[in-house]
Structure formats: structure tokens, C-alpha cells
């Protein structure tokens, strides 16, 4: 069973085609980077994967569940980290996580156990009582990831999760998710426009103007240099 299976998905905003016959699969436990410049269609794809929009053509399967036919079962298997913050700045990390756990149907002991576990995993257990407003950018993103992992999803979708972070925090976060993926069998789809967030062994899908330009292992696609290849492919080189 694949972790994520996107087949022949197209989507248009009126006359503007945002995604054009997009197909790719991510094996269970794989880290897949979805690389594309701004406006490539990444966020539209994420909106479809999380059912904020529904697919008008094509099919999406999440951990074996068809998103159109069994949306709730499919949604229960994903954790999502959006570009925008979803945390209430005036509540503590623990209060925020308790609310998100409840949205996933977890309360009482199950909720506390899940919160303790994710905070430990993300190395922010000591921040549990801190107000989110007092956290730095890196810790806020970690809290977002902890929030996305609370219900033990099988697939983790991250939409440009490093936006607004400095280089050190970006690297720490990218490494952390790679590590989680290797040690636990979590399927990860990581959308980014930054080539340095892609490791040589990662699955790589390059999306541009709503179409997939490359799909394979990063180092095979990259040739000598991924940044150069990416800029060549997307026509960003002057």
C-alpha cells in the first residue's frame, strides 16, 4: 500500500489552470519533497490533499483511503502543517495541543499521553507551559508539527513549513523531519521552493505551472547541482 497516491489530478480557478494532470505516488515511510517556485500549484495541491477543495478530476488516496469516497477515514490518517500559523498566541503550548487533540477526538488520558509523546519527540517538552507568543519562530513551527502528529497520522503533509525561519532553524527542522521519517515509517510530503531542503536520497517531485516536470530520486534529477537544474527547468535563469 502506498502512503500517498495522486493520479491525474487537475484543478482550475475559472479559466486559470492551477494543476494539470498531476500524478505521483509516495511509498509508505518515504520523504518526498515537492519542489516548485511560487505559483507552481503546491498550495492548490495541498488544499486538494486536505479536502479544503474537492477534486473535480482525478483521484487521491491517502494510506489506501480514497479521499472522495471515504473523506473522513482519509483525513484521519493525515497530519497537516500549513504555511500559516494555526496556534492561538495567547494560549500555552499545552492548551493549544489539548484543543487540537480534542478536534481529533482525543480527550482525558489519551490526550495527555499523546501530548507528552509529541512534545518529547519534538524536544519541546520544557515549553509545555509557555505561551505561544513567547516562543521563537523555530519552536512555534515545532509546536505546529507536534500538533500535526498528535493523532499519530500515517501521512504528514507540510506546506512550506520553514517560511520565516532563519537558516539554522530551517536546517534543524528539515533534519528533524527526515529523522522522524527514517525512524518511524511516517510518509512525508514536504512542499518547498528551496532546493537546500532536499536531501540527495529524497524522493523529489518538481512542480511548475501546475505540471510535474521531474519525478524521481533527488540526486539523479539534480545532476551536478539541484539549484541549477531547478532554475533551468523552471526557466528562472535570466
Amino acid at each position: 500500500m502506498t502512503g500517498l497516491d495522486v493520479s491525474n489530478v487537475s484543478y482550475a480557478y475559472g479559466a486559470r489552470q492551477a494543476l494539470d494532470d498531476v500524478s505521483f505516488t509516495v511509498e509508505r515511510g518515504a520523504f518526498c519533497a515537492l519542489l516548485g517556485p511560487n505559483g507552481a500549484g503546491k498550495s492548490t495541491l495541498y488544499a486538494l490533499l486536505t479536502r479544503l477543495f474537492s477534486t473535480t478530476s482525478g483521484q487521491i488516496e491517502i494510506a489506501g483511503q480514497d479521499l472522495s469516497k471515504a473523506p473522513l477515514a482519509a483525513l484521519a490518517r493525515i497530519g497537516v502543517v500549513f504555511q500559516q500559523s494555526t496556534l492561538d498566541l495567547d494560549l500555552t503550548v499545552g492548551q493549544n495541543l489539548r484543543y487540537f487533540a480534542a478536534l481529533q477526538g482525543l480527550a482525558g488520558r489519551s490526550s495527555n499521553t499523546a501530548i507528552d509523546a509529541v512534545l518529547d519527540r519534538l524536544d519541546i517538552a520544557d515549553r509545555r507551559s509557555a505561551k505561544v507568543r513567547d516562543l521563537n519562530g523555530g519552536h512555534r513551527r515545532r509546536t505546529e508539527i507536534a500538533r500535526a502528529l498528535l493523532h499519530a497520522p500515517e501521512v504528514l503533509l507540510l506546506d512550506e513549513p520553514t517560511v520565516g525561519l532563519d537558516a539554522a532553524s530551517r536546517k534543524a527542522l528539515t533534519d528533524h523531519i527526515h529523522h522522524l521519517c527514517i525512524e518511524s515509517g511516517l510518509t512525508v510530503l514536504w512542499a518547498t521552493h528551496l532546493t537546500d531542503e532536499v536531501a540527495p536520497d529524497d524522493r523529489l517531485v518538481i512542480l511548475h505551472q501546475g505540471r510535474i516536470l521531474r519525478d524521481g530520486i533527488a540526486q539523479e534529477i539534480a545532476g551536478k547541482d539541484l539549484t541549477e537544474t531547478f532554475l533551468d527547468l523552471t526557466g528562472a535563469v535570466e
Partner: protein, 290 residues
Amino acid sequence: MKLDSQNIEKKSPLSEEDTVVIARPSRLRAALIALVAIVARECLRFLQQRGRFVAALVRPLVWLLVFAAGFRAALGLSIIPPYQTYITYETYIVPGLCGMILLFNGMQSSLSLVYDREMGSMRLLLTCPLPRWWLLSCKLLASTAISILQVYVFLAFAALIGVHPPWQGYFLIFPALVVAGLMLGALGLALSSFIKQLENFAGVMNFVIFPMFFLSSALYPLWRMAESSPLLRDICAANPFTYAVELIRFAFYQQWNGTALGLTLLFTAIFMGLAIWGYDPGRALIRRKG
């Protein structure tokens, strides 16, 4: 929503050494847990925003103390149902001001939904593994609970300055406030699904809140309106807010108003239907550029 019980013991795929076993509740239990969490969070947010609490209270009190005092001399009121005797203008507008609180709060909640949508927390809510209609209903119940809390605080202040209906009325208006609050909250929810940006909210103020409030029976009885303009009276009679106010007014005086109840429930269903349609993933109203 399926209410079948399914207890799945699921091992986190994330853990090797520190195995975490999460017992997933039945769908019904999960739905109730989410409801409690959403209502509690809205209440917490409301209590944290003291300015909003004070504004919600000051607005109707200013109307009651200042506006009503000025109008008392100018406006004569005849004996109309549900009143059985002559009443002061302050007494007349109290149900309208309760409606005003529900109306403003319903719109305020829709404002916070637009804000949530821009911030990401609405996206998160809508990606929960619960039916969308249920999630929207949870939001609606949360905003109605806050509205009713505000109404009772306002009524306590009104009683302090000597404006109070029969004591039984305080209990009987509760179901009326629930129905009226749900209708106005559902209207806010429906509007929030059609407002693309936060900036557009000023338009809601001008084109929804003010006309709804002024073109209703909140401030003047409909027969008074008819004296100045039959057309205005007809507009007021077509305004759903009029029926919400009359429902509250009649409940205060322990009288049944089937028309007001029926129409308020009907408008609640229409507005909620619009909201569910507006938030349908196929309509992609939460869109942004990809």
C-alpha cells in the same frame, strides 16, 4: 455522520522506543469531544478579549440609557401584544437590544471566522476528520452560547437601573434566545463563507447589521413604522430580525408567538443551509493562489 462505535487501538507510526498507543473514540464521542472543545475555546477567547466583552455590554446600555431616555418623551406607545398595559419606551426596546447583542455577536463571530481563515486555524478545523456540517454547527453553538451569556449580563444591568420584565420572563426567554441566536449566528456563518477578505467586513456593518437593526421592530413597533411609510413597514415585516426580536419580546411576557418562532426557525435553516453550501469543498471558497 455514522454513529457506529469503533474502538481502534492504533500504534503510532512515529514511535519505536517510546510506543504510544492512542485509543480512538467512537465517531459520536469524537464529535462531542470536538463540540465541547470548540465551545470552550470560543468562551475562553471571549473572556480574554475584555474589550470585546465591555463593548458588547456598553453598546446596548448606551441605547437603553441615552437613546431611550430621549425617545421616551417623543414616542407614545399604545397597548399592543404582548403588553397588557402602557409601558415605558425603555421597556419596549429591551427585547430589541437583546436582539442587537445577538446580531452584533453573530456578525463578530463571522468576522473571527474570516480572520481564522486567513490565519490558518479555520483550515485546520475543516481538515478534522469530522463532517463539515458538524464542525460548522459546533462553531454556531459556540457563538450562540457567548451571545446568550452577554444578553443575561446586559439584562442584569438593565434590571439594576429599574428596567425589568416579569421575573418568569428571564427563564422563558432562554429558548427564544437560543433560537434567535442560532438564526443570527447562522447568518454570520453564511456571510463569512462569502466574504473573501477581512477588509470586506466593513461592508457587512453597513449593509447587514445597520439595516437589519433599524428596519425591524427593535426600536419602534411596526404600526408606528406604517404611520410614516407603509413601504418601510413592509420591509420591516420581511426582515428576519423582526421575528427574532418579537420571539424574545413575547417570551418575556409568557406569550406564544408561533409565527415568530416558525419564521425564525425557517430562516435559521435557510442561513445554515447557505453556510454549509458556502463552505462546501467543491465550492472552494477558502481558496488562495497556489
